[in-house]
Chain length 478, copies 4
C-alpha cells in the first residue's frame, strides 16, 4: 500500500482480467498491447511524476482521511490550495504527455461524490457518505486510478431515459438484491477505462420522478464480471500497433465504449440509488470539476503545441518571420486564457457542507467554452506555422528503405545545422497533436457538449443584479 | 484628513484652480461644468462606495504605512489579498458607473513607483523611495485621487525621443535647478485629469543612453502653474452640456490632453530623473497593473451592458428569443474571461523587493488582449440584442413637444406593462455605452496599444521550456 | 424632366413642405439645416456622379420603360448587367461619401414592387402592376429619390400586428374610401426621408388571414398631409449643427421616425391592399435587394476606412509596422468579402415573371451576415491602426484659440513632412466613421436583424441535396 | 482518343509503370492498391460525371483548339463562362467525392502556362507557346489528367534557391543537352501524382538574376525514368488498406513527395527555361487559379459536411435543437462565402494577351483566406453538431464480432426509425471528413501558405485610391 511507482502501477493493471475487444478481436494482454500501452503510459506519468523529486511537491500531499501521503489524483479538495493544485497538476501533466493523461475523470468523480453523498444523507438519512468514504480510503491507500462512467449512450436524444423504446439506453438497475444491485446499460467515451483500476458510474443528466432506476452512482473494478470494454477507433490508432510513425513516441489515448451487461454491484459500492432529485447536482458538480480539469491539461497541451511550432520555425529557417510569431502569440494567448479562467475558478472556490471545496462554476465553464472553440484554432495555428508536411510526410519505413531512404533524407532536410531526423520527428509530433481524434474531439465534447457549457454559464449568472445596475444608470426606478 | 466623503471630494476639487480649455473656451468652474461634472461624479463614486456600509469592506482597508483606514485606490498592494481586491473593486465600480471611474490610473502609478523607486535606490543609492513614501503618505492621509501622465504625444512614431525634430514630443527636463526641475512636453488621453488632485508622470517607453532628460517620474498638483488641460471632444460630449438625452444619467468620462508648458517640479516630488535603464521597468510595471485594472472595470461595464440587453429583451417582448439569449451568453462569457484572467493574475502575484506585490504579467496581458478585441464584440452583441433604436431615437425634447410628444410616446411603446419612458431611457443608456468614444476607444488603446499587449505576452513567456517539452515527446535529444 | 443635376435635386427638395421635428423643435427650412443638409448632400452625390463624365457610364443607363437615360437608382433591373451595376454603383458611392448615401432603399422598393405587383395581379386580376408602372415612369422621368418605409415600430415583439393592444403598431388601413385609403401607424429608421421626394411603404413582415389591413404597399410624397418626420438623435449630431469638428466635411446621415397620422393615399398610389399571402414575398424581395445594397456601399465605406488608416500610418510614422499592415489586410479582406458575395448574388440572378431580374438570396444574405459581424471588426481595426486620438482630440475651436492653439498644433504634430492640420483632419474623419451611430448601427440592423439574415440563408438552402450527398458517400441507401 | 470513360481512364493508368514507394515498400500495381485506388476513384469521378447525362453540360465543352468536345479539366478558359464553369464544376465535384478530386491542379497549370508562355515568347521570341499548345492538344485529345509539380521542398526557408547548401532543394537544370534537359530536385505534396498521366512542373517562387537554372517549366509522364513517387502518410491511411472503417466508402486522397532524380525532359516538353523574371508571373497566375479552385471544391465539401451534420441530427433525435441549427447555418454561411468570392473572381475576370481569361486575384485570394481559417471552423461545427462518436466509434469488425456485435448494435442505436448501421456509417463519414489529414491540411496550406494569400491581396489592392478618397472626405488637399 501507499504511493505506487510507475512500475507498480503497470504491474497492478497486469493483475486485472478485464473483458476487452478491439478491431473485432478479444484482447487478453492489455498492458502489452502497444496501442493500449501508450494510453497506460500516459496515466503512468501521473505516478512517475509523483516519484520525481522536482515534481513530488506538486503531485503529492497528505490526505487528512488516511493521514498518509497520497497522489493528488485521489484527493477531494479540502482547501483553496487543493483546488489550485488541480489546475497546476493538470497543466504540468498535459505538457508532460502532450495528450490526455486520463486520470482526471476519476478524481472529478471522487470530488463530486464527496459533496453529493453527504447532501443526500442529510436529506434522507442514508449512509452513502460512509460507504463512499470507505471506498475513498481504499483508493487512496492503494493509489488507484479511477475512471468516470458518466456519458450514457442515450439512444434517441429527444426522449428521456424512461421514454426510450429500449430502456437500456441509460444505465439503470435491473434487479435489487439483498447483497447489491444488478445494472445494465452502456457508457460511451470511457477514456482510459483499461488504465484504471476502478470504474465510477454517475448519472449523465438531471432526472425526475419515475426515473428512479436511472438515479445511480456506484463503483466497480474494471474487470468485474459482465463489464465489457469495446475499444473504439481513433484516427491514428494503427500507428502504435505498427510501432511506426507514432509522432508522440511515449504517450497516446484510447476511448472504449463500456457495456454493463448485467453487472452486479455490492451495496457497499453503491453511492446513490433512486434519489432522482440529486442526479442533477451530481452531474453539475462532476461537470464543473471536469470542465476545469480540461482547462489545466489542455493549456499544458497547447504549451507542447507552441513548443513544436517554435521548434519547426527553428528547423525550417522561419524563426524570424513576423507573421508566424504573431500566430504563436495567438497560441500562447489561448493557453493562458484557459489557464487563467480555471485558476480563478479554483481561487474563488467555496467550502461545501461536506467540507469538500467546490470551484466557481461560471469561471470553470468560461474556460471550457474557450476550449471548445479555441483548441481547434490553436491546432490550426500550429499547422499553419509548421508547414504542409504535417499531412503527408513519408513513413519512417520509407526513410529506412535502401532505395529511396537517402533521397528522402536529402530532400526533407531543413536548416543545415539540424539533423533531418529531428525535423521529421517534430513534424510527426505535430501530426499527432493535430490529427489524433481521441484527444482532439475531447476538446469539443469532453465534459459535455459546448451547448451544455453555455447553458450552465447563463443559469449560474446573477442576471437580475445586472439588470438592476443598468436600470439605475438609465434612471429607471424599481 | 482621513477618508473623504463624496461631498468632501468634490469640494476639495472646487478649491483647485487649474488652467483648462474646452471647445475653444477657458473653463473656470470645473466642478459645475456639466460635462466635466459627469466625469467627476464617476470618480466620486469611489468615495461614495467607501462610505456605504455594504461596500466599505471592499473599498477600505488599513494602510500599514499610515496605520489608518484608507481607500484602496491609495494603497500599493502588500499581499495577494490586496492584489485580488484590485480586481473586485474595479469590477464593482465598472458596474456601478457603467463607464470609466478614472481613479485606477493613479493607483497603478503608485504601485509601480513603490516597486521601481526602491529598485533604483538599491542600484544608485538615490532617495527616490523615501520621497515617494512621503508623497504616498500625503495621498493616503488626504484620500487624494491621482492621474497617470504616461502617454506622450510622440510626434513621429518611427523616431525615438531624442531623434524627434521637436525635442518636446516626449516630456523632458528643460532645466535643472537647485530646488527642482522644469519640464516641458505633453501627455495625451489624460482621463479624468481634472477629477484628480495630483498628476503623476511616468515615462511612456523604454529609453537608452542619451535619453536621460526623458527618464522622468514626478508628481504635481493638477493646478500647478504651466500645466494646461485641453479637454478633447468625445462623441456624445454635448449631451451633458445640453442636459438632455444623456443615457447614463449619472456618469461620464472626459480625456484632456495635458500640456506641461515649462512646469516646475520641486525635488521632493521627483521620483526618477535620468536613470534611463529603469524607464523600461517603470513602463512595464505600470502597464501590467493598468491592463489588469481594465480587466476588472470592463467586466463590470459588460455587466451593465448585459443588464441593459436583458432589460430591453423584457421591454421589447423578445425575452424568449433563443438566438438573443445566445448572444447574451456570448456577452457573459466575455465578461468572465476578462475577470478570470485578471483575478488569476492577482492570485499568482509575487512579492517584489520593496515589499509591494506584483501581478502575473502574462495573465494580465491575456485579459487585456481579450478586452482589445472582445469589448467591441460585446458592444456589437448588445446593439444586436437591443434593436435598431440604439441609433436614432428621438430626443427627450421631442417627447416633451406638445405637438408630437404624445405620438412618439404612442409609437415607441414596447410591451404593455412597461412605461414607454423606461424603454426610451434604456435605449438611451445602450446608445451611451455603445457609442461614447471616450470610454470605448480605451477598450482598444487603454494601457498601450493591442500590439504592446501581444509583445509583452510573448516576451514574458518561457518558450524554451515549451520547445523542450515538445522535443522530449518527439524523441529528439538535447 | 429628365436627369436632374445636383443643384436641381436640392432645389426640388426646397419646394417641398414636409412636417418635421428635431430636438423638440419644428424645422421648416430642411435643406438649409446643416445637419439635414449633410444627409441631403450624400444623396445629392448620386445626382452629381451621374453628371460627371468619368462616372456617367456607371450611373446612367437607358430605361426601356420611358426610353430615356435614367439614373440607375430609378431602374428595376432587367438584365444581369443591371444587377451587377447595383453593386458597383453602391461601392463607388459608399466610397465617395464615406457614409450612407440613402438612395438605395427606394430603388430596392421599386425592384420589389416591379416583381410582386405583377405576381399579385396574375393571381387576383388586380391592376397593381399598371399603377406601379405609372408611378415608376413618374419617378424615372423626374429623377426622383424614394425612401423605403418598411420597418414598423412593432410594439410588443412577441405579438403579431393584430394581437397588439394598440392596433396602430403596424401601419394599416383605417378607412377605405372611394378615392383612396387612409393609413395610420409609424415606420422607424427612415434614413433620408427628407432627402427623398417619395415615401414608399411596404409591409415589414409576413402576414396571415385576418391581417388584411396590414397588407399594404403604397407611395406618398414626403410632404403629404398627416405625415410627420421626427428626426432622431445620432451620436455626432451636434457637430454639423455647430459647424465644427465634423470629420467628414461633406456628408452625413440622419434617420427620422415617420408617423402616418391618418394619411390619405389615392388608389393610383396603392400597390397592395389586403393580399396577405403576398406580404411575405414583398418583404423577402425587398430584404434580399436591400441586404445586397449594403454589401456594395459598406465595402465602399471600408475602402474609405482603409484609406484613412493607411494615411494615418503615413502621418504617424508607423507606415512600416508589420502588425499594422496585417490589420489593414484584415480590413481589405472584409471589404472584398462583402463585395464578392454581393457581386456573385447579382451574376447568379434570375429573371422573374414580370421581367425584372432578381438576385441570388443566399449569396446576398451571406454578404449581409458578414456585414453584421465584420463591419464592427473593421472599425475596431481602423481605430487600432489609427491610434488613441480617435477619441479625445481637442476641438478645432481649441486649435483656433490664441492662448493654446499654437501649443496644441505643436504637440499634435506627427511626421515632419505632414502639416499638423492634415493629421487632425484625418483623425476627425476616423472618429466620424467609427463613432457615428446613424451609419454604424445600420451595419447591424439595416435590412433586418442579423437573425433574419441567418433564417433566410437556411430556408433558401437546399439541405436535402446535401444530406443525399453525404448518405451516398457513407454508403447509406435511400 | 476523345473523352475517356471512367473505366478507360483507370485502364490508361494501368498501362503506366511509375516508380512508387509506400510504407517502405515498392508498389507495382498502383490501380489495385486500395489506398491509391480510393484516390484514383476521386479523379475518376471527373470522367464519370462527364459521361452522365445530367452533368455532361457542366463538365464537357468544345475546345476551340481541337474543335472537339473536351472535359473542362483540360481547357484553359477562353471566356467568362469558362471561368465561371471552373467554380461550378469544382463545387459539384467536391460535393460528389467529399474530398479532393485531385484534377484541378493540372488544369491550373494549363491555364497559367497558356498565359505566360505567350508572354515570354513576346519578349524573347522563344517558342514556348507553340510547344505548350502541342502539349495541350495532346492532353485534350487524350483526355489526360495532369498534376501540378509546384511546391519545392525548399530546405532552409530563410535562403533562396541558389543560397542553399544543397543546391537541389529547388528543382533545377543539371544538364542542358541537344535533345533536352536533365532536372533534379523534389516537389512535395503532389496530390494525386499517380492518378495523373502527366506531371507539369512550374517554379514555386519568384526568382532573380543568377537563379536561371531554377526558372523552369516542363511536363513529363508520371512514369518517366528517374521520377520517384514517395507516398506519404495520412492520418487514416490504413483504413483503405484494411478495407474497413473507411467512412467515405468511395473516395480518398493521397499526397506523394515527388523526387526528380536526374529526369530527362525533351525540349518539346520544356515551357520555360531560364527566364527568371517570368517565374514570378508563373507562380502568381497558377496560385490565383489554384486558390480559386479550392473555393469551389471546398464549398462542395462543406456541403457534404452540412449534409452529414443534418443527417446525424435526424439520426440522433436532435433535429429540433435550435443551437445546432445555428451551427449548421454557420456552416452554410462559410460554404457560400467561399463560393461567392470565387464566383465573383470568375465573373470579374479579364482577357489576357494570349486570349486566355484570367480571374480577379483579389477576390480569389479573399476566398482562400476564408478557407484557410474557416474550414477548420466548419469541421469543428460539424463535430459539435454530430456528437462525440466522431472520435471513438467501435470498428465495423467489432460490430461483426459474434460475442459483442449485437451489444454494440443495441447500444449505438439512435432514433427508432433509423437502422443503427446507418448511424454508424454517417459517424464514420464525419470522422473521415474531420480527421483525414491529406485533405484537411490542404485547407490551410493548399495553394500556398495563408500568409501568401494575405500578401497577395495587399499587393493587388489599389491602396492609393483609398487614401485619396479618405483625404477628400477629411478635407485634405493633394
Amino acid at each position: 500500500m501507499g504511493l505506487k511507482t510507475k512500475q507498480e502501477y503497470i504491474e497492478s493493471l497486469r493483475q486485472m482480467k478485464p473483458t476487452a475487444y478491439m478491431f473485432g478481436e478479444k484482447i487478453t494482454n492489455i498492458v502489452d498491447n502497444p496501442r493500449l500501452r501508450a494510453g497506460i503510459e500516459a496515466t503512468a506519468a501521473t505516478y512517475e511524476l509523483a516519484s520525481m523529486p522536482e515534481y513530488r511537491d506538486l503531485m503529492v500531499t497528505r490526505s487528512p482521511l488516511i493521514n498518509e501521503p497520497v497522489n493528488r489524483f485521489t484527493l477531494p479538495p479540502s482547501s483553496i490550495e487543493d483546488l489550485v493544485a488541480r489546475v497546476k497538476v493538470n497543466r504540468k501533466l498535459g505538457n508532460w504527455v502532450g495528450t490526455c493523461h486520463q486520470r482526471c475523470t476519476g478524481l472529478d468523480c471522487l470530488c463530486s461524490l464527496s459533496i453529493v453523498t453527504y447532501d443526500i444523507d442529510r436529506k434522507y438519512g442514508t449512509e452513502y457518505s460512509a460507504r463512499f468514504t470507505e471506498f475513498l480510503k481504499h483508493v487512496q491507500k492503494n493509489d488507484l486510478t479511477a475512471n468516470a462512467g458518466v456519458t450514457d449512450v442515450k439512444g434517441d436524444r429527444s426522449l428521456g431515459p424512461g421514454e426510450q423504446k429500449d430502456k437500456d439506453m441509460y444505465v439503470h438497475v435491473v434487479e435489487r438484491r439483498e447483497d447489491g444491485i444488478v445494472v445494465r446499460g452502456a457508457k460511451a467515451h470511457q477514456t482510459g477505462s483499461l488504465s484504471s483500476h476502478e470504474i465510477i458510474v454517475l448519472p449523465t443528466r438531471a432526472l425526475r420522478k419515475g426515473d428512479e432506476d436511472y438515479a445511480l452512482a456506484f463503483a466497480v473494478p474494471q474487470d468485474t464480471p459482465g463489464l465489457i470494454h469495446a475499444i473504439g477507433r481513433s484516427s491514428l490508432d494503427t500507428r502504435e500497433l505498427d510501432g511506426c510513425d507514432m509522432g508522440n513516441i511515449r504517450y497516446s489515448k484510447y476511448c472504449p465504449t463500456l457495456i454493463f451487461n448485467d453487472v452486479f454491484v455490492p451495496w457497499d459500492r453503491v453511492f446513490m440509488c433512486g434519489e432522482v432529485e440529486f442526479a442533477s447536482e451530481m452531474v453539475l458538480r462532476f461537470s464543473a470539476f471536469h470542465r476545469q480539469s480540461h482547462g489545466g491539461c489542455k493549456s499544458g497541451k497547447i504549451d507542447c503545441m507552441i513548443g513544436a511550432a517554435l521548434t519547426l520555425m527553428d528547423y525550417n529557417g522561419t524563426a524570424k518571420a513576423g507573421h508566424l510569431k504573431q500566430k504563436v502569440i495567438d497560441m500562447i494567448h489561448r493557453a493562458e486564457t484557459l489557464y487563467g479562467c480555471c485558476l480563478a475558478a479554483s481561487y474563488e472556490g467555496k467550502k461545501e457542507n461536506s467540507g469538500t471545496y467546490f470551484i466557481d462554476t461560471v469561471l470553470a465553464n468560461a474556460s471550457k467554452i474557450h476550449e471548445g472553440k479555441e483548441l481547434s484554432e490553436a491546432i490550426r495555428l500550429m499547422v499553419d506555422v509548421s508547414g504542409g508536411f504535417v499531412s503527408d510526410l513519408p513513413s519512417d519505413r520509407d526513410l529506412e528503405n535502401p532505395e529511396i531512404g537517402h533521397l528522402l533524407k536529402k530532400y526533407l532536410k531543413g536548416v543545415d545545422e539540424v539533423p533531418v531526423e529531428n525535423r521529421i520527428k517534430m513534424y510527426r509530433l505535430v501530426e499527432k497533436m493535430a490529427m489524433e481524434s481521441a484527444d482532439t474531439i475531447s476538446d469539443i465534447h469532453g465534459g459535455g457538449s459546448p451547448e451544455a457549457h453555455r447553458v450552465t454559464i447563463f443559469r449560474e449568472t446573477d442576471t437580475e443584479s445586472k439588470k438592476k445596475a443598468a436600470k439605475r444608470l438609465a434612471g429607471i426606478e424599481g
